[in-house]
Every structure is written in C-alpha cells, then in structure tokens.
C-alpha cells in the first residue's frame, strides 16, 4: 500500500496537468460497462478495491496508474484509449464525497460502545 501511494505521488508529481478534458456522461457509461463499480462501488467509495472519492490523483497520474496498475488489472490504450480514460476520470470527479464520520450519529455511537 505504501509502495502504491509512493508510486502514485511520484507519478502525479511528474505528470503534466494538460490532459484532454473528459465527458463525464460518457465516463459514467464506461464506469458501468467496464464494471469499475465491481471493485470500487457504484459511487466510487471502495469495496474490494480502493476508494476513488475523493480522487487523489490528477488526470494524467490517474491514466498512468490505470496503464500499469498494481493489484488492479492494468488496461492498455488498445482497450481503453486516453480519451475514454479521460471520460472515466471526469465521471469520478463528479461523484459526491461521503459524509464525515463525525456527522454520522450512528458511527459516533459505535465509537462510544467500546
């Protein structure tokens, strides 16, 4: 996990911020048809795979990661070209953040139960 975060940080630092802007609507279609949700959940809040919301990477770093992922399957440009990845990225950026645990009374009750 640490290695992954380090890789992501370096990639992000090296990345140019000048990637093509994506189409979030098309990105949603791809997010569903490519079953990204199966690991990351329908709202990108994680499950078997990592949380995508809030997205810690810029678009270029995100695309670099998908091309050469660690535990996650890597997707080549042949099957997910840059423009499609940009669309998926744009969709992920639209997904709302979860409420903070501090604002969820049930979670606060659970924390007090110890």
């Amino acid at each position: 996990m640490k290695r992954l975060l380090l890789l992501l940080s370096i990639t992000a630092a090296l990345a140019s911020a000048q990637s093509p802007a994506g189409d979030a609507k098309h990105g949603k279609e791809l997010f569903l048809s490519y079953a990204c949700y199966s690991c990351h959940s329908f709202d990108g809040h994680g499950g078997a795979g990592a949380r995508l919301v809030p997205m810690p990477l810029n678009q270029t770093a995100f695309m670099a990661f998908v091309r050469n992922a660690g535990r996650m399957p890597s997707y080549s440009s042949k099957i997910l070209p840059d423009n499609k990845l940009a669309d998926i990225y744009a969709y992920i950026k639209t997904l709302p953040a979860s409420p903070d645990a501090k604002n969820i009374p049930l979670i606060q009750e659970l924390l007090k139960e110890r």
């Binding site: 079953a35 709202d43 809040h45 399957p73 890597s74 099957i79 979860s98 409420p99 645990a101 979670i107």
Partner: protein, 641 residues
C-alpha cells in the same frame, strides 16, 4: 417386503410421469378441496397442526387424495420391521432432527421414524433438496456442537447431497448421514429401483466423507450407527455415512432385537507433552508472538481457553473461520503497525503454507497444532501444501490448550511476565486504534444507493445488540463488516463459512443454525448473498413450514460478484475490453424479486430496499416477525462488497 415394490411409485418416477403425461394433474383445481378442508388459503390451521414436531399435519382432503388410489388392504403385514429397530438405535444417539427429501430407498425407515418413533428424537424436517438437508445439518452442528441427521435417497439423493458433504468435510463439521439403497439385486424392482441403487453407494462420496459403512444385518446396523456417531464427533469432525439397505429396513425383525451398544465418545487427541513443553518455551521466549486460530474453538470452552492462553502470553489473536476469540478483546487482531511476529502459533489452520512462508522469510518460528495432521485422505487436495514448520503437533488444538497453558504457567518467570505486561499495553492501544479506524471507515458510501454493506451492518447492530443474537451467515462476501462493527463475544454468535467454498451452503446452513438456536430462544440473523440463495431457495419453505425463526437480509448485488472481478481481470490480462464481464456473471434482466420469492415460500418478504433511509423500518418489521417465531426476509439492494 411390506408391499409390492413394482406397484409403488418412486419420487423421481412420479415426477417424470407427471411431467410427461399428467400435466392435467397440475392444472386440476385440487387446491379448492384443500381450501375447504383447511384454513385460509388452504393452509393448515392451528387445530390441525401436528402435535409431534413443528410441521403441520396434512388436511383431511389432502390425506384422502394421497391415499385414495392405494389398495384397500395389503395381503401381507409386517408389524415389526427392521426399520423400527433402527429407530430404537437412532434414539440412543439423542439426535434432535433429521432433514430429508423423501425417497423410496428409505420409505420403511421413514414410516418407522414418524409413526413408531413418534416423530421425536429425531424429528423429521421436510427439505426440498438433499444439498439443503446436509447443509442444514452443517449449520446446526456449528451452533449445537453435535450432529444432526440427513436422510438421503439412494444414489440420486447422494449425488444431490455431495457438494454439501464436501463443504462439511473440509470444514471439519460432524454430520450424521443415512442413505437408503436397494442393495439386493434379486429383490429390487427393475427400472427406477435399480437406477437409484449402487453396488458401493458410499464410493460416490468416500473421498470427502470421514467414514462410511453398509451394514448387512440389524446387529451390524446398531454397531455401525453408534460407531458412526463416535467417528463424526472425534476431532477432526466430519460427515459420516451409513448406507441402509431397503431390505434390512423392510424385513421383519427375526427373534429378539440385537443389543444396542453404548455410545462413548472418544476423547479428543491432545498433544504430546514433550512437544507441548517445547511450544511453551518458544512462546515464552518470543518477543512478538502471534496466535492464529481458524477451526479451533469447537465449543464455548475452546473460546475460553484461547482467551486464557492469549492473556497469559499477552499475544495478539488473529481469529478466522470460527468464533474463536472476542472481537473487542484488547488482544484481538494482528498487533501494532509493524508488529513482526517471531513465533506464530497456528491452531487448526487449514492451509498453513502462506503463514509458514512469511515466518521463514522473517526468520520466525512456526508452530502448528491441528488434528488434521493425523487424518488424511489422498484424492481431494484440501490438506493444502506441505510447509516448513518448526514444531508440528498432531493433535486437537482445543484439547491441547489446557496442557500448553499449564506448561506456560510453570515456565513463566517474573522477567518475562513484566515484558508481557508491557506488550499488552501496546497491543491494547493498537487494538483500540485499529478498531476506531474500522468504525470510522463505515462512513464511506454511507448515503449510497445501492446500500453499502457497512451501512447495512451498522444499522442492524443497534436493533439486535440487546437481544441474544447469532449471525448465521458468512462474512467473507460482505467485507467482514459485522466483525468490524459489532461486539462478538459468545461462541454461538458466528458460524463461519462454507468450508470448501462451495456455493449453495449459505441459505440452508443459516436455516440449520437458526433451528439449533430456536430452542435457546436466540435471535438468528443471516446476511444472505443472492448467488448462494439461488442454488436451492426451497430451504426458505422449510424455514416457513417448520416455523424456524430467522431474519434473512438479502445482500442483493445482483450477480456472482467475485466472478465479475475475475473475468475483468482476465480481460485485462488478455488485452481485451472488460465491457462484457457481465456475461455469465450477473443476475439481472430481469432482476430477481426476493420479496416475492419469500412470500411464495410462505414467509414475510419485503423489498427491494434501495434507499438507505428505508432500511431501519424494514429491518424492524422483519425482526418483529422473527421474534414471534417465524422467518422473514428483507431484500436489500447492495453495493458489490
């Protein structure tokens, strides 16, 4: 024989005949008769419910219909068939229930059980699939710590049962199976009876049955029946099979009945004392010991012993597969961040290779205690890999813990005790931190629809925590959220998983566990995966019919989710798109309506719940019904994991 086998109608033969030529029978409005004779909608009323056992009695009209086509009187009567004696033998074993799908190979025993045996000890439970019967017994044994019986019809029933037998075998769970067979080729009828019989019936499942026998006389049956129970219960536990010839069942008892041997359970094998002393020394001298427990606690006593051992050593306990250790104990977990064990104590761990590899890489010592080391078969590879182990104690872990605890107490010096106390403080702090993080992580996807498994588990907890509850489903497919949020501290509060990873276990095991919980007045809750339920959903009817209180909450992710991920991975590996990964893996178009499914099987069903705000009221309604002694189902559309 009590009646002509040539004129009797076999279960499968009947079904085949009905399908081929008697479609009109299905369409015939016989329900109207039943409605007149029974209660509302033709259901049995409280007045005509059976007095012996929980199953309702058939209505008079239904009874007349069933018996109307039979000969008025048989020319031959056998008042004391061998199957009566078999019931006498079975009653000495104190088996509470048997689950069965009816079949002609054991019809004499069936009749003896319900009439001669008065349908008590064991009580007959009607089940719609043999796999469900065995899996129910699997779940029951995990709660009750002793076997339930599954009665199986010949080679066809045994083949249906085989997957559930395999799960129980790998899970080391005792199950008592009796299968009928028309062994005598000269006496069995041609056709169906021959097709449903085998020369060596046990061979069909022998690779994953702990022991089987086919007794040739009533005296032999008594010996085998008692021995089978003993073998099933001796660790490692497992399913045992008695093949029960239809001829021995149906023939009259000749002379006085044979003596029934006394059941004396074999004491579980405990570890060699010299080896136990060596283990004690390694653990005392370790700076960072770790205990890993899988199928360790067979009974509540096993859990208490593990707590005692952990507190003596002040070592973290990583509990898996069973309720081995309280989840909120300060020593629960894997230690603080960077805690690198220098000795691991592995208690009834299935495949030790991954842990042994880690230990070897860091120069740590590996100790294993498992009864499986002294019980092996060849074909099925569930024994896992051979691994480098420093101390391998072939014994039942639970039975060995008292000696290990005693040896540690004897050898423990004040210096080591002080070191242990320091370790405990650090471990307790790490446990609290990890626990808090787990709870806080439930926030992710809190408001999502489909509903997150964290939200589902969190919302359910306040509704059951003040009850005497029991989670009768596996947590592997729900990201272990109950373990991360709830307080598990009793042995019966969790039953673990399938054993061999075979789907179709979850629903019947939950019903079997709920059956065991019923007499203790416990509240049974199952978070049920959709893929698993669809193997043999008829067990819902069994729960309704026998009034087994169980709240089933569907984890309805509309697919075989693990396989979606596997196909995606393969597509990426093959450099092809993952946009077809839903083919063969998803259960949608149409979506399955589980509320209607539950209703069709005769229980309360509601949903699909998609809005998290609707969850608690639905769960409350379901719990209210379950507390009244009935099963209920709430269908919740969920995130994949």
């Amino acid at each position: 024989m009590a009646k002509s086998k040539k004129t009797s109608v076999d279960r499968r033969g009947f079904l085949k005949g009905a399908a081929a030529g008697a479609a009109a029978l299905v369409a015939k409005p016989q329900l109207a008769d039943a409605q007149q004779a029974g209660g509302q909608n033709g259901q049995p009323t409280a007045q005509n419910r059976g007095v012996n056992g929980s199953a309702p009695a058939p209505t008079e009209v239904a009874l007349a219909r069933e018996t109307g086509g039979r000969p008025a009187e048989s020319s031959r009567i056998i008042e004391h068939p061998g199957s009566d004696y078999m019931v006498d033998v079975l009653k000495t074993l104190n088996i509470e229930y048997l689950a069965a799908n009816p079949g002609s190979t054991y019809e004499s025993l069936h009749e003896s059980l319900i009439n001669y045996g008065d349908n008590k000890m064991p009580e007959f439970l009607t089940v719609c699939h043999e796999e469900s019967a065995v899996a129910m017994a699997h779940g029951y044994a995990k709660i009750e710590g002793k076997p339930m019986m599954a009665l199986i019809h010949g080679d066809i029933g045994l083949q249906h049962a085989s997957m559930a037998i395999y799960n129980a075998y790998v899970d080391r769970v005792p199950i008592y199976m009796v299968a009928g067979n028309h062994s005598d080729g000269a006496r069995r009828a041609p056709g169906v009876q021959s097709m449903h019989s085998a020369q060596d019936l046990g061979a069909l499942v022998r690779d994953y049955t702990k022991w089987d026998d086919e007794p040739l006389s009533l005296g032999h049956f008594a010996d085998t029946a008692v021995r089978a129970y003993n073998i099933a219960m001796t660790p490692p536990g497992g399913p045992v099979l008695i093949v029960c010839n239809a001829e021995i069942q149906g023939d009259p008892i000749q002379g006085s009945a044979p003596r029934i041997p006394k059941l004396t359970l074999t004491t579980p094998p405990a570890g060699d004392l010299a080896a136990v002393r060596e283990a004690a020394k390694l653990l005392i001298n370790a700076e960072r010991p770790q205990i890993i427990a899988q199928r360790m606690a067979r009974t509540p006593e096993g859990m208490a012993l593990l707590v005692e051992l952990a507190e003596l050593l002040e070592a973290p306990v990583n509990s898996q597969e069973r309720m081995n250790f309280p989840t909120r104990h300060p020593l629960a977990g894997t230690g603080w961040q960077g805690y690198q064990p220098d000795v691991t104590l592995n208690l009834e761990v299935g495949d030790i290779l991954p842990q042994a590899r880690i230990d070897r890489a860091r120069g740590a010592k590996t100790i294993q205690i498992t009864s499986v080391s002294v019980f092996h078969k060849s074909n099925i590879q569930d024994f896992g890999h051979y691994a480098d182990i420093d101390l391998d104690i072939g014994a039942d872990a639970q039975a060995t813990l008292p000696a290990l605890i005693e040896e540690i107490r004897k050898e423990l010096t004040p210096d080591r005790k002080r070191a242990f106390e320091e370790r405990r403080a650090k471990l307790a702090e790490a446990h609290k931190k990890a626990w808090d993080q787990q709870i806080e992580s439930a926030q992710y996807g809190w408001d999502s629809s489909p509903i997150s498994l964290a939200r589902l588990s969190a919302e359910l907890w306040p509704l059951i925590k003040n009850e005497d509850w029991s989670l009768v489903s596996w947590q592997g497919f729900i990201s272990n959220w109950p373990n991360r949020l709830w307080k598990f501290d009793k042995h019966y509060q969790y039953i673990g998983g399938q054993g061999a990873g075979g789907m179709g276990y979850g629903a019947p095991a939950a019903v079997g566990a709920a059956l065991a919980n019923r007499k203790h007045g416990r509240l049974s809750v199952s978070i049920q995966t959709d893929g698993d339920l669809n193997y043999a959903p008829g067990v819902l009817w069994t729960a309704a019919h026998h009034r087994i209180p169980l709240l089933t909450i569907m984890h309805n992710n509309r697919g075989y989710h693990q396989e979606v991920m596997f196909v995606e991975e393969q597509a990426a590996l093959h450099n092809r798109g993952a946009d077809r990964s839903h083919i063969g893996t998803k259960l949608w178009d149409p979506n399955i309506d589980y509320a209607k499914m539950a209703q069709a099987y005769g229980m309360h069903g509601e949903g699909p719940i998609t809005n998290p705000d609707d969850l608690v009221p639905a769960l409350k309604r379901g719990l209210e019904i379950v507390k009244k002694g009935e099963p209920a189902m709430i269908d919740v559309v969920t995130q994949p994991r």
